[in-house]
């Protein structure tokens, strides 16, 4: 541990910093940086707030010019906003990361086996390890997928698994799985790029594991699932279009992988084969990395009012003429009620104990759990099982009476739709507070991106650290005012 007393006369960026009651990832105790943070602490401690502010403006400008923005619809106009980027990196030692990595790999493989099983022989239901009623009542369970052979048996090509560090134990645990169309990986790559440009000297002093092989790895997997198995398959990324909040990411990934970025209107199905409309006529498509939700990919199969999808796409998929990544129907595996059973799934399919902990979860459609939940709402967080992005949530401790009463009614009316968890006291990482122009502790989570090729799970070191920039806030979603940080895995550190 390195001790660096902050000078009283010129407190600098860390002036007034207190670790607070939460697990502080930089400081072991007041003013004592953990060893993997010591060089960064020295650097920042010696920096005048004005110098830091200058770098911050530079970074913001870089994001603005690149158009790395997301669209917010709450103001009715669809304004472009910068996804706030916090310049202070979040650092994890390699040894800790490797433990996380093993836990994530185990989880991804188990979730894939679960999906194979649920849409196949359904052995886990016959063995009564998980209630069949729970599985079949998942909003994102797709009957259309039952009995369908998917290419190479892969469902979960891309998973974003949200982790949090519990202040009580200091350990990482899984908060939720995202196995439908997880987004955010472009920020991992862009944050790194901006970081190396804005803080080159800090970057040079650390040996940070690289992340930029993600597009190449994803591209390899997309190629490998081509049903025609040709050496040069036609791969496209299907986007809902320019108005989608993740549009930047869609175009970024398409460009990085050198694949065509298409909208539903660019594709057409003829004779159960998918084609794209080019200036030289129709051209056959083999693999679709789709960033359009299940509900919208095919109006003939799912929601008939969808304008974003391609009529007949699922027919071509059933005929084996196209690969879809991720596979439709994955939502059954990241349902927040199924989440409670994932440790059981890992034991059932792999015969192993889960390496990563999960948060204690109360299922509101179990009467014993429901009574506990209703009696303790002000202490719990309640989540709607099929939602993501921080929507449909109740944070008990910060909710007022009316909100709690409202949620109570919703839970009682539709218990299957809700789960409740104790509030996890998230760890904090020093982050820049623009109002006070000082560094303060802010809550973070971590979303690593896992790629699965049917044999191995590849995870780019780190992932997206999301940070709740409001003091005291535990909600890190970008749609709810969160920002992000570059995440550094330091080689050789333990």
């Amino acid at each position: 541990m390195t001790t660096l007393p902050v000078c009283a006369a010129d407190p600098g960026l860390f002036g007034g910093y207190t670790a607070g009651p939460f697990y502080d990832e930089m400081f072991a105790s007041q003013g004592r940086a953990r060893s993997h943070y010591s060089r960064l602490f020295t650097k920042l401690g010696g920096m005048a707030p004005s110098q830091f502010e200058e770098r911050r403006k530079l970074a913001d400008l870089s994001f603005l010019l690149q158009g790395i923005t997301f669209t917010v619809y709450s103001d009715g106009r669809g304004t472009e906003r910068l996804f706030p980027f916090d310049l202070i990196p979040r650092i994890l030692p390699q040894s800790e990361w490797e433990r996380i990595e093993r836990g994530l790999s185990q989880r991804v493989v188990a979730l894939n086996l679960f999906l194979q099983d649920v849409y196949g022989r359904q052995l886990i239901l016959k063995d009564r390890k998980i209630p069949a009623s729970l599985v079949f009542s998942c909003r994102h369970f797709r009957r259309e997928m039952v009995g369908l052979e998917v290419p190479h048996g892969i469902y979960t090509h891309i998973c974003g698994i949200d982790l949090v560090r519990d202040s009580a134990s200091g350990e990482f645990m899984v908060l939720e799985d995202n196995v439908r169309t997880p987004s955010g990986v472009s920020y991992v790559l862009e944050n790194r790029l901006v970081m190396t440009r804005t803080f080159p000297e800090v970057f040079q002093e650390h040996e940070v594991l690289p992340v930029n092989h993600y597009p190449a790895e994803l591209s390899r997997i997309l190629r490998s699932v081509s049903p025609r198995g040709e050496s040069d398959p036609q791969i496209v990324l299907l986007t809902p279009g320019i108005h989608n909040s993740a549009y930047f990411e869609h175009s970024f990934l398409a460009q990085q992988m050198g694949i065509e970025l298409v909208e539903g209107r660019d594709l057409v199905v003829d004779g159960v084969v998918v084609y794209m409309k080019t200036i030289n006529g129709l051209k056959r498509v083999d693999v679709i990395y789709r960033r359009v939700d299940d509900d919208f990919i095919d109006p003939l199969c799912f929601r008939s009012d969808s304008m974003l999808g391609v009529p007949g796409l699922m027919g071509a998929y059933r005929a084996g003429n196209i690969a879809l990544v991720n596979t439709p129907g994955n939502g059954v595996a990241d349902d927040k009620a199924i989440y409670a059973y994932v440790p059981e799934l890992i034991r059932y399919y792999l015969g192993e104990d889960p390496l990563l902990k999960t948060v204690e979860t109360y299922l509101c459609d179990r009467s014993d759990h429901l009574s506990h939940v209703l009696a303790n709402l002000p202490q719990l967080v309640v989540k709607s099982v099929g939602e993501s992005g921080g929507y449909g949530m109740l944070m008990g401790p910060s909710a007022d009476r009316a909100q709690i009463a409202d949620f109570r009614d919703k839970i009682v009316a539709e218990p299957r739709n809700y789960i409740a968890q104790p509030i996890v006291p998230l760890s904090v990482v020093p982050s820049y507070d623009a109002t006070s122009e000082r560094i303060a502790g802010r809550h973070v989570d971590l979303r690593p991106y896992c790629l699965y090729d049917g044999q191995n799970v590849t995870i780019v070191p780190g992932g997206l650290t999301r940070v709740a920039l409001q003091q005291g806030s535990l909600v890190v979603n970008s749609s709810q005012g969160g920002g992000s940080k570059d995440t550094w895995i330091l080689r050789g550190e333990c």
């Binding site: 690149q66 158009g67 460009q255 065509e260 409309k277 080019t278």
Partner: protein, 318 residues
């Protein structure tokens, strides 16, 4: 290449060019008026509104045209779909939908232009006059050309961008000559004959003033100005030069050699060029410049439609 992407590149080129051409015309017109100590035959604002093809819309929004409202209308108005800001907005929207297909440098450059123009305060600029704003637009367009030239691979995408640029430029120059000729050669009784300054302004608005003097070594003569802007084989803003660009880009897309055509757009481009190559200015003036240019502009419109039919639109299979 996806049809939608080709379509967006084509319009990206057109909107950037339209913004630049509008800025050029605005800037030069204002400065010519400024240089004239008195305005002997009144201020003629109508021509530049006609050039934008938006007379009806202008009359709906304003009363009599004057320096302020014409500038506002052509530069900033969100109600005028051809205003410079609207063109830049649409160029950026098109670029955004295809940002994975253009170079990162092109997107960042255009995005930067969009933000820098957005920082201009219309009310302040209207009082200050158009030079600062128009200068930025023209420079921005040139820089975008340069960045594209330096970074975009020379595939079909480049050709669609180029055909958009060239077709728009050809049409804008045709409109400019048509409108200016009509206005300048038909002075009102009380106004008297127009002086050379107006013709100089026309030349300057297409950046051909110095080139004119190198070419003709003579005072400004309306017929020669028209010749330069319509028929000059090498001046980059002449109608003939731009039409050659249109043809060459279209041939590159379909991989067609000289002497034949692969589609209707190429046939029409060849037809326009035939005239521009072999007609003489005295013949054109004799038969009537206005009808000549009206026919040329009609052909340009047909080329645009034919490109869309050949490359952008799809009839769905039954």
């Amino acid at each position: 290449m996806l049809s939608r992407i080709a379509d967006s590149l084509f319009w990206l080129g057109r909107y950037i060019e339209r913004a630049e051409d509008t800025a050029r015309i605005l800037d030069v017109t204002f400065h010519t008026l400024l240089e004239q100590k008195q305005q002997p035959f009144g201020v003629r604002w109508d021509p530049i509104i006609s050039m934008a093809g938006e007379e009806t819309l202008f009359r709906q929004l304003y009363n009599e045209p004057n320096a302020h409202n014409v500038f506002e209308f052509l530069a900033f108005s969100p109600n005028n779909p051809s205003s410079i800001m609207q063109c830049i907005n649409k160029a950026r929207e098109n670029a955004r939908t295809i940002r994975d297909r253009i170079s990162r440098e092109m997107w960042e450059d255009l995005n930067g232009l969009y933000f820098s123009l957005g920082r201009f305060d219309p009310q302040e600029e209207i009082l200050a006059g158009p030079h600062r704003f128009c200068g930025r637009v023209i420079f921005g367009s040139h820089r975008f050309h340069g960045v594209s030239d330096a970074t975009l691979p020379r595939d079909e995408g480049w050709e669609f961008l180029r055909v958009g640029w060239a077709l728009e430029r050809a049409e804008m120059t045709a409109r400019l000559v048509d409108v200016q000729y009509r206005t300048l050669l038909e002075p009102t009784v009380e106004a008297g004959p127009p002086d050379n300054h107006q013709w100089m302004a026309v030349l300057k608005s297409v950046g051909a003033y110095e080139a004119y003097h190198r070419q003709y070594h003579s005072p400004i003569d309306p017929a020669r100005v028209a010749e330069m802007l319509i028929l000059h084989p090498r001046h980059p803003r002449s109608i003939r030069f731009s039409s050659t660009e249109v043809q060459s880009a279209l041939r590159a897309i379909s991989n067609t050699g000289p002497g034949s055509y692969a589609n209707e757009a190429e046939r029409l481009a060849g037809k326009v060029l035939e005239r521009l190559r072999y007609d003489r200015i005295d013949e054109i003036l004799q038969t009537g410049l206005h009808s000549y240019l009206t026919e040329i502009i009609r052909l340009f419109n047909s080329i645009g439609e034919a490109i869309a039919r050949s490359y952008f639109y799809y009839a769905l299979p039954a």
